[in-house]
């Protein structure tokens, strides 16, 4: 009997420990009542990770903000991977940051769900909303409501290797896509003759984000009136066929074909003599490939028209935020003249305010001038709330067209069909 009693005692002990542990948990979680204690307010700011250089600039900007607003502390958090998945999940759980980054690409979908705070009421004359470049501002304006203010933007331009151009006897960047093809042919080098060039003429990315800007010049659309996929048109085929042909002729290649992660790396390692990339590539090349002699140029014209893509990111406010006033202070500082000037001072990204752009004068910069020039006619990477689905299906099918597994026409048709089926099922 004594044994039994001991056993019982042990059992009760174990259970007791369990209950104790649970109580401990609940105690911890209930101790989270900070926020608006006294005069000090903490604003959470979430974004994705970036280069150390960018982190430092952001920290400088935030330090300047905290100095100007001594009662507001900014808690900056970096979401390292799968930013949108994490952010959406946190929004559902009510744990999202007060202020966070939002890519224009995802903005329509997220604004639709009503988790973003409309910012119109907060805007004062002092903020000078007219100073922003309109296309970038409109990327975050839905049904007349402004949900975010663009913190910066990037455009695509052509990077070309000056040394390789000289070796191939080429002078200056190509002006049209036809010329680009000729150049690429001359710049492709297959020394050992095994059919796999060691140096490709052009490195490019196959994603819709890097291809869509060619469609407009031919009169093709990415999405239709009801936000459904609508890229399977003859015009779109005309716009995209040149790059497919170049890839199949092995004068253009994807970064993965050359064993690199992305275009900048491919260009830096001289596995491609030209790449189409954004201004984020500039600091990467400066830091990692100091000996590389390269130049940038506006993208060659598509069907006689200038075209490039613009990628922009805004600061948006969480509708569930408990510190909205302070959050607005942060947003208005970061996207205001003072904050934006610090943030874009090194040209890692371009300022969205015209006054700041003028002040910094990147249009005069030999490397960055091409990106600024592109800003005038760039199309923002955005096309309705279903773009993530459309993008995913396009990317999958376009890859197989590039590999020659199916014709471009088939690929686009299949991608459009699948995307529209998915969109219909999801709504």
């Amino acid at each position: 009997m004594k044994m039994k009693f001991n056993k019982m005692l042990a059992a009760v002990g174990v259970t007791g420990m369990l209950v104790g542990a649970m109580a401990g948990c609940s105690n911890e979680s209930s101790g989270q009542g900070d926020g608006a204690e006294g005069d000090q307010v903490t604003v959470e700011l979430a974004g994705w990770g970036a280069s150390p250089e960018e982190e430092e600039l952001l920290q400088q900007t935030l330090d300047a903000f905290e100095e100007a607003h001594p009662n507001i502390n900014v808690k900056h958090e970096v979401i390292a991977d799968q930013y949108m998945d994490v952010t959406k999940t946190r929004l559902v759980g009510g744990e999202a940051a007060d202020v966070f980054y939002l890519d224009a690409f995802e903005a329509p979908g997220l604004a639709n769900t009503g988790v973003l705070e409309p910012l119109d009421e907060y805007v004062t004359d002092e903020f000078e909303i007219d100073d922003f470049q309109d296309p970038l501002l409109n990327a975050f304006k839905f049904d007349g409501t402004q949900y975010g203010f663009p913190k910066d933007f990037s455009t695509l331009a052509l990077f070309y290797n000056e040394k390789k151009f000289e070796e191939a006897g080429l002078d200056g960047p190509p002006q049209t896509w036809e010329e680009l093809r000729e150049y690429a042919e001359k710049l492709t080098v297959d020394e050992d003759g095994d059919g796999t060039p060691e140096q490709y003429g052009l490195g490019f990315s196959s994603e819709l984000a890097r291809q869509f800007y060619k469609l407009e010049a031919y009169g093709a659309d990415v999405v239709g009136e009801n936000n459904e996929a609508a890229f399977a048109s003859d015009e779109a085929i005309e716009a995209l066929q040149p790059i497919v042909d170049m890839k199949q002729d092995k004068i253009a290649a994807l970064p993965s074909d050359a064993g690199t992660d992305w275009g900048g790396d491919m260009f830096g390692q001289e596995k491609a003599a030209m790449v189409i990339e954004g201004n984020w590539t500039v600091p990467f090349l400066e830091n990692n490939f100091t000996d590389l002699s390269y130049a940038t140029a506006e993208l060659p014209t598509v069907n006689g028209e200038k075209a490039t893509a613009a990628f922009t990111v805004a600061y948006v406010m969480n509708k569930e935020s408990e510190v909205k006033e302070a959050s607005w202070e942060l947003i208005s500082f970061l996207t205001g003249k003072e904050g934006m000037e610090i943030w874009t001072s090194k040209g890692l990204a371009l300022p969205t305010r015209e006054s700041v752009a003028e002040e910094l004068g990147f249009d005069e910069d030999p490397i960055r001038g091409a990106f600024v020039a592109g800003g005038e006619y760039a199309q923002p990477w955005q096309a309705g709330p279903n773009l993530p689905t459309i993008n995913n299906n396009f990317n999958n099918q376009f890859t197989s067209a590039l590999l020659g597994d199916q014709s471009l026409e088939e690929a686009l048709k299949k991608a459009q069909e699948t995307a529209n089926k998915e969109i219909e099922a999801a709504n």
């Binding site: 059992a11 174990v14 009503g114 993530p388 995913n392 999958n396 890859t399 089926k421 999801a426």
Partner: protein, 325 residues
């Protein structure tokens, strides 16, 4: 056994039976209460586990089942709408679900037989009296100890077009492949990696079972003039049948649930061209990229159902009675 024996021979009149019964009744009563006490302490001991499994396994399973019949709205106000079997009928019309299922089935059909055979052969080799077998056992088991995420990243380096594997193939004048970016090859790259990493785990299970086989059986076979191969095929393999059942079932379940490797390989997209899209990866995409929990749950239930059916088929195939030997 004793009470039963006492009862059967007694063909006494009903009276005695009746008189016995009250006695009997009293005894079980005491036993019952004792047993009840035992049971209570047993349950108390189990309560931490029951609680944990209940909260983290049983309730989520039931909840997922419930979700699969609903259209779940998560962002901007949580809302459920009962839509019956709509999520299930949607799977038939979802071409990506079919691709994912095809990829997963292909993966299972290739990986499970290969890794099972490889595990058996490795175990047989290490069970014989070769030199340094302990060292080999450790070396072979190492991949299993490595975290699968780390393993995948290292393999991705080796699979790079200019990486170790292609350099090696080039050195041997064999054709090289674009292991990561070619849609025809990408899934096979994951297969190779997974077979290499999982086979040793099952090898250890086989090895343990092999050491349980009595030497006398092999001695008898030797006297009958059986050679090494005959002993392996006619003694080792049949005796190991229950273990093989376990290895195959666990292998099938594990491979059907392939997620981490293809997630890391494709950066979560299942690309290139959906070639590494598996069912679990698709569930992840629907659940966390599209926040379509209802449909994702339905897919998860379908996957569980498929695994269940396949396991039942295997049970029939291997013969149930062998399990209880």
């Amino acid at each position: 056994m004793e009470p039963a024996r006492k009862e059967t021979p007694s063909h006494e009149p009903d009276k005695s039976k009746k008189s016995k019964q009250p006695n009997k009744k009293q005894k079980p009563k005491r036993y019952m209460s004792k047993g009840w006490k035992e049971g209570l302490s047993g349950y108390l001991f189990m309560s931490p586990t029951i609680f944990t499994i209940g909260v983290f396994v049983v309730i989520p399973i039931l909840y997922a089942f419930y979700l699969s019949f609903n259209d779940v709205q998560l962002l901007g106000g949580i809302g459920y709408e009962f839509i019956g079997l709509e999520n299930y009928t949607r799977t038939f019309d979802d071409s990506r679900a079919l691709i994912a299922l095809k990829n997963t089935a292909e993966y299972v059909l290739i990986v499970v037989p290969v890794q099972t055979c490889l595990a058996l052969l490795l175990a047989a080799a290490l069970n014989s009296n070769i030199r340094g077998k302990n060292a080999f056992r450790i070396i072979f088991f190492l991949p299993t100890v490595t975290s699968s995420a780390v393993l995948t990243i290292i393999f991705m380096w080796m699979y790079n077009p200019d990486g170790l594997i292609n350099s090696f193939l080039k050195f041997l004048s064999l054709p090289t492949y674009n292991w990561l970016a070619d849609p025809d090859i990408a899934l096979k790259s994951i297969m190779i990696m997974n077979i290499w990493a999982t086979a040793p785990f099952f090898m250890v299970i086989y090895l343990a079972a092999m050491q349980d086989i009595s030497d006398s059986v092999y001695e008898a076979a030797t006297i009958d003039g059986a050679n090494w191969w005959q002993k392996f095929i006619f003694i080792t393999v049949p005796i190991l049948k229950p273990v093989t059942f376990f290895v195959v079932v666990m292998g099938v379940i594990g491979t059907f649930q392939l997620f981490d490797q293809s997630y890391i390989f494709s950066g979560g997209s299942g690309g290139p061209n959906n070639s590494t899209l598996t069912v679990v990866l698709l569930i992840y995409q629907y659940a966390f990229k599209s926040l379509d929990m209802g449909y994702a749950s339905a897919l998860a239930v379908v996957l569980a159902f498929i695994i269940m059916i396949v396991t039942i088929i295997q049970k029939k195939f291997f013969g149930e009675e062998k399990l209880h030997d």
